[in-house]
């Protein structure tokens, strides 16, 4: 029993690592990170909603596009 649980835990660990990687690479957790950063650097000031945050991100690409390679 203990062994099966250990394997299941191991698989769970790999899965959580993978989903963390994908979330960070693609941007799922960027908003959470923004909130933390904002609280730390500007405590007490208003924080954008997730919708507003992504609008701001896309507007930033609009005025400063990222190159993609050949």
């Amino acid at each position: 029993m203990g062994r099966a649980a250990a394997i299941a835990r191991q698989i769970g660990w790999y899965f959580s690592k993978l989903s963390w990687y994908s979330a960070t690479l693609m941007g799922d957790n960027h908003y959470r990170r923004y909130v933390e950063h904002r609280r730390r650097t500007h405590p007490g000031e208003p924080v954008m909603s997730e919708r507003e945050y992504w609008r701001m991100r896309h507007d930033a690409i609009e005025s400063n596009p990222n190159a993609r390679c050949c």
Binding site: Y21, L25, M26, E36, P65, A67, R68, C69, C70
Partner: protein
């Protein structure tokens, strides 16, 4: 040195055996670790075994002349060489040139703003950087270079990456990180002066135009008269728009979720493309000619560059990142399981004769021009400056991201080479020789390739038709550009592992869709970037043009977008309608453009190395720079001055002009006066561009050389590095943290949440 080190009171050093810990605040754990422990015996043995294994694999590839060489040897030779290069050569560069200072904050830490400046976990940034640098180039170049056999290509992709491509990417990342993530053009202006800077900007914009045109041409060649392919690519547009709306209005921020939905829809689009292609309306709606497709791409490129980012560009980018990483991993697994054997010769007849139908010219310099991206890609210097440095956590991670990222791209190039080398050689030339030679039908193509100096059994027209039916196409004759060849090779590998012969057509169209998807993403993004450079460059001229600096001025945006699209669009149409074949005349120009950009980047790096006083180590960027200049300027010289009309643009230009003037109505591949005039026009444009590229690079190199002379005489302009700021965060350097790094990380994790953290590091 121009950079004074910050006040010593800020740094607290603590020695423990071979390890030095540096703190920037006495109450906080160390922010930097300098580990000078000597290499352990265990590591010596491991690296010894890797080196030996690599040597055996190289020997098998190079000297084994039996019937078959297995593809697995290529994978082993590549990986072993990469490991040794990364561990020893990259480390040498790190110790002597880069000299990372982890006690100094990176631009990402100093300017953190939650948009472009964001300290990002090194493994995630590696993924970002790889997704940004990898594209169609390393897939297409090695396929075309297979004309000369597998050996020259393999050697250049692996050795070129270790000594040239990775060095460029790594060192450009280094100089940009020390300059707030400035772009290549800005850094050339800052370090080499206004003349060099202006030449670099003009060079970058023209080079970008050629790049976009040739990539678009690759897509057009792959999709012309292919209703299945056109349907699945067309569907990516509504899928991306759906994803964009989903992210904007339904569930903002759920990027992985929407990307998975998008990938599922994309697979559905590939499958349903097969059904659509069988219907009469599918045939008439989506079976488009090359010229129509070219116009569709031009309209698409313009629309995509003026539409809001969130609607099309951002979701497409998510999709193509997902597909890129996924498919390349899939192909690697496929090759290791299927273990195909090589059909191509080690070195072909065409390597020495220079008369190959895929591209003209001999091995030196044209092999190096053709492979371009897989071994040394100037375009990476635009990613290594600008985007990636703004996300870097620690200077010592640059080796993993800059050098390591390019090694991965080189590996993609090796896989592309394998997929082309395992194809029947007669089939390879059927696909890749221009229509002017093959005649465009299965019967004439069979006759043509059977007369080429190839080994193996001749091919019949029925076999060519069967190969086309297997992948769900009407014809595979003269599907030039590399993408269809790669797709056939990929379907050959993948159907053996996943799904059997019944899925061959699916895998072919999956591969075509995968390539077209990220080429189109490059076209979107590239048009935007080129527009940005154009409006920025024009606004510097002053007067009323200064208004262009404002990115929200829609008229300016539209006009500049139109100008950029008109530039690459006209080159694209020129390639499509070229009576001589298009790809074989334009691809060398693309390669030369890319390699000349690398020359600009390496010149800049070399000047900075001299300015910093590391003259002893100038050979590290200097050797690849001189090699690259030799290759590209020789190729440019031949393209401009060669007396062979197949190689020299101007000889061909005057040959056709004289023929026209003397009243002839056909010559060579041109069957009537219109086609003759097309050749005259095309060769004029191509010849002019060759001269322009070469001149811009000679100017940049000369200004670099003058600057080096001035510095050596004790003058020269000072370096423009930023003042160092003390770092307040810690992160490991390599992919796997060392024991010491883990201990320090634990100390940081034990602190209350109020301290700086990088994207995602909280999940550890």
């Amino acid at each position: 040195m121009a950079t004074p080190t910050a006040a010593p009171t800020e740094r607290i050093e603590e020695q423990d055996g071979d390890v030095t810990y540096i703190r920037t605040e006495k109450d906080l754990p160390p922010v930097a670790i300098i580990d000078r422990s000597p290499i352990t015996t265990r590591h010596k043995i491991i690296f010894g075994i890797i080196a030996l294994l690599g040597a055996i694999a190289w020997a098998v590839i190079a000297f084994f002349r039996g019937e078959t060489v297995n593809a697995v040897w290529f994978v082993i030779a590549a990986i072993c060489t990469y490991v040794i290069g990364f561990r020893f050569y990259a480390r040498l560069i790190e110790l002597n040139i880069v000299r990372p200072r982890d006690d100094n904050a990176t631009p990402a830490e100093v300017f953190e703003n939650d948009t472009d400046y964001m300290p990002t976990d090194r493994r995630v940034l590696f993924g970002h950087h790889f997704a940004a640098i990898a594209g169609a180039g390393p897939l297409v170049g090695p396929v075309l270079a297979m004309q000369m056999g597998y050996l020259p290509g393999t050697i250049w992709i692996i050795i070129g990456a270790v000594f040239a491509g990775c060095v460029q990417d790594y060192l450009v990342l280094w100089i940009s990180t020390r300059r707030r993530g400035r772009s290549l053009g800005q850094m050339v202006r800052d370090e080499l002066g206004a003349a060099g800077g202006a030449a670099a900007i003009i060079g970058i914009i023209t080079i970008m135009t050629i790049l976009l045109a040739v990539l678009a041409l690759v897509v057009v060649q792959a999709l012309a008269q292919s209703p299945w392919g056109v349907f699945s690519i067309a569907m990516t547009i509504p899928i991306a728009i759906f994803m964009g709306i989903y992210l904007r209005f339904l569930r903002p921020g759920r990027v992985s979720e929407v990307s998975l939905i998008g990938v599922a829809l994309l697979l559905l689009a590939v499958v349903s493309g097969g059904w659509v292609a069988e219907t009469a309306w599918g045939e008439s709606w989506f079976g488009l000619s090359a010229v129509t497709l070219g116009w569709c791409l031009i309209v698409y490129g313009f629309a995509a560059s003026v539409l809001p980012v969130w609607l099309l560009l951002a979701p497409r980018d998510y999709l193509s990142t997902f597909m890129k990483v996924g498919t390349i991993a899939l192909l690697a697994i496929g090759i290791l399981i299927a273990r195909p054997v090589m059909q191509a010769p080690a070195v072909s007849e065409f390597a020495t004769s220079g008369t190959g139908p895929v591209f003209a010219g001999s091995l030196f310099p044209f092999l190096f021009i053709t492979i371009a991206c897989g071994a040394l890609s100037g375009f990476h210097s635009l990613i290594s400056s600008g985007t990636t440095p703004k996300m870097l956590e620690k200077e010592s991670q640059m080796r993993l991201i800059g050098y390591g990222g390019m090694l991965t791209e080189s590996f993609v190039g090796i896989m592309a080479l394998i997929t082309a080398a395992i194809l029947n050689q007669h089939l390879y030339f059927t696909l890749n020789a221009p229509a002017a030679s093959t005649g465009g039908t299965a019967a004439t193509a069979a006759e043509y390739v059977n007369n080429l100096p190839l080994s193996g059994d001749p091919i019949t027209a029925e076999q060519i038709e069967q190969a086309a039916r297997d992948v769900g196409e009407q014809s595979i004759v003269s599907r030039t550009g590399g993408a269809p060849t790669l797709a056939i090779g990929m379907s050959e590998v993948l159907h053996r592992v996943f799904g059997g012969a019944g899925l061959k057509a699916f895998w072919y169209h999956f591969a075509i869709m995968f390539e077209a998807l990220f080429i189109l993403t490059t076209v979107d993004a590239g048009t935007r970037v080129a527009r940005f450079m154009l409006s920025d460059g024009l606004s510097n001229l002053g007067g009323p043009l200064r208004k262009l600096r404002d990115p929200s001025w829609r008229v300016g945006v539209w006009v500049c977008s139109l100008a950029v699209v008109a530039l690459w669009g006209s080159v694209l149409l020129m390639g499509i309608t070229d009576p001589l074949g298009g790809i074989n005349t334009l691809f060398p120009l693309f390669g030369i453009a890319n390699q000349l950009l690398a020359a600009i980047a390496l010149t800049l790096v070399s000047v900075i190395v001299v300015k910093k006083g590391y003259l002893k180590w100038l050979w590290i960027p200097g050797i690849p720079l001189l090699w690259d200049l030799t290759v590209t300027l020789t190729a440019s010289w031949q393209k401009i001055f060669s007396g062979d009309p197949k190689v020299g643009y101007w000889t061909q230009h005057f040959q056709y002009r004289n023929a026209l003037d003397s009243g002839k109505t056909s010559i060579g591949s041109a069957k009537n006066v219109d086609q003759m005039e097309a050749v005259i026009r095309n060769t004029f444009i191509q010849g002019t561009l060759s001269i322009l590229f070469a001149l811009m690079v000679i100017i940049v190199f000369a200004t670099g050389l003058i600057m080096v002379m001035r510095v050596l005489r004790g003058g020269g302009t000072p370096l423009t590095e930023d003042e160092p700021v003390a770092s307040k965060l810690f992160a490991p350097s390599g992919l796997i943290p060392t024991k010491v790094e883990r201990e320090v990380q634990k100390q940081w994790d034990a602190l209350p949440q109020s301290h700086a953290r990088s994207v995602g590091t909280s999940a550890n």
